[in-house]
């Protein structure tokens, strides 16, 4: 399975990759993007099975990215991994079609719980 990690922080992309492994999701190919615009290019080119996306990013935010994907009719599975975990943000994410919103700081267990229906763990 292909997973695209979208975050403007290289450190956070590394931490998300590490947490996926810790959560037991080892049989996955991981790619990275630094903002929503780059993510859309990679989604169109590589068709990942899941996008794990930050919310607040320069150039194009995560919610703008999801809205663009919706307009284009994309059915890519999409979830947020973000520091913004308020009820309002969760509602906004859900309304836009995100499967989940994982709030930072997160643990491997949080990833397991949220991704269980989307990725297969080994």
């Amino acid at each position: 399975m292909k997973v695209l990690i979208v975050d403007d922080s290289k450190a956070m992309r590394m931490i998300v990759k590490r947490t996926l492994r810790q959560a037991g999701f080892n049989d996955i190919d991981v790619d990275e993007a630094g903002n929503g615009k780059e993510a859309i290019e990679k989604i169109n080119a590589d068709k990942p099975d899941l996008v794990l996306c930050d919310w607040n990013m320069p150039e194009m935010t995560g919610i703008e990215c999801l809205e663009e994907l919706n307009k284009a009719g994309s059915d890519v599975k999409f979830g947020f991994v973000t520091s913004e975990g308020t009820p309002e943000m969760r509602a906004r994410a859900s309304e836009a079609g995100a499967l989940f919103l994982i709030a930072k700081p997160f643990t491997a267990d949080t990833f397991k719980e949220n991704l269980a229906g989307v990725l297969v763990s080994s």
């Binding site: 403007d8 922080s9 290289k10 450190a11 956070m12 590394m14 931490i15 590490r18 607040n56 990013m57 320069p58 973000t82 520091s83 913004e84 975990g85 308020t86 009820p87 309002e88 709030a103 930072k104 700081p105 997160f106 643990t107």
Partner: protein, 175 residues
């Protein structure tokens, strides 16, 4: 809920931010509860420290949250966040440290936003910036820092808040 006539003091923001740093340290830095503590508060801009700042803004309030440490502390905290061993810390580049400290303040500010949701649900997060050198408030701004021991490092959480001299100031909600 906040209205145009209410404000929260810098002290309240500092307490909320310190709690967020404790939770962050436990989850992201692998620290035990006893490894992280508040060791002091003051209103003096920290010297000899660098770190990341991020804005939390709404119509009623405008705050910069900073998370700063000395060179050794920035390296140690960044290394802990990246799960590096002590002998690997020298591999960290300045770019790695800036990026990681930026993410630290991003996470802490996000937690502060969530903790403040019943007081001010309209806060918006900015993007982090990394600054080296002292950050000083303008005359119309309130300023405070809380000094925290995080493992063997000393870090400071900085709050710079836009004052509203016409607003009634509250202590913040009782808990």
């Amino acid at each position: 809920m906040m209205d145009a006539c209410t404000t929260t003091k810098v002290d309240y923001w500092l307490d909320i931010a310190a709690d967020a740093v404790k939770e962050f340290s436990a989850t992201c830095l692998g620290m035990e509860e006893t490894d992280v503590e508040v060791v002091g508060k003051d209103t003096v801009p920290p010297r000899g420290m660098a770190g990341a700042y991020l804005a939390l803004v709404s119509l009623d309030d405008a705050v910069q949250i900073g998370f700063v440490s000395d060179e050794t502390g920035c390296k140690a905290i960044s290394g802990a966040m990246l799960a590096m061993e002590e002998d690997e810390l020298e591999e960290l580049t300045q770019s790695d440290i800036k990026d990681t400290m930026g993410e630290v303040v991003n996470i802490v500010a996000g937690m502060v936003k969530t903790k403040m949701v019943n007081i001010n649900p309209d806060l918006n997060l900015g993007l982090p910036i990394f600054l080296t050198g002292p950050v000083e408030p303008l005359p119309q701004q309130e300023f405070g820092t809380v000094q925290m021991k995080i493992g063997s490092s000393i870090a400071r959480v900085v709050i710079i808040r836009q004052s509203d001299p016409d607003a009634e100031t509250l202590q913040g909600p009782s808990t």
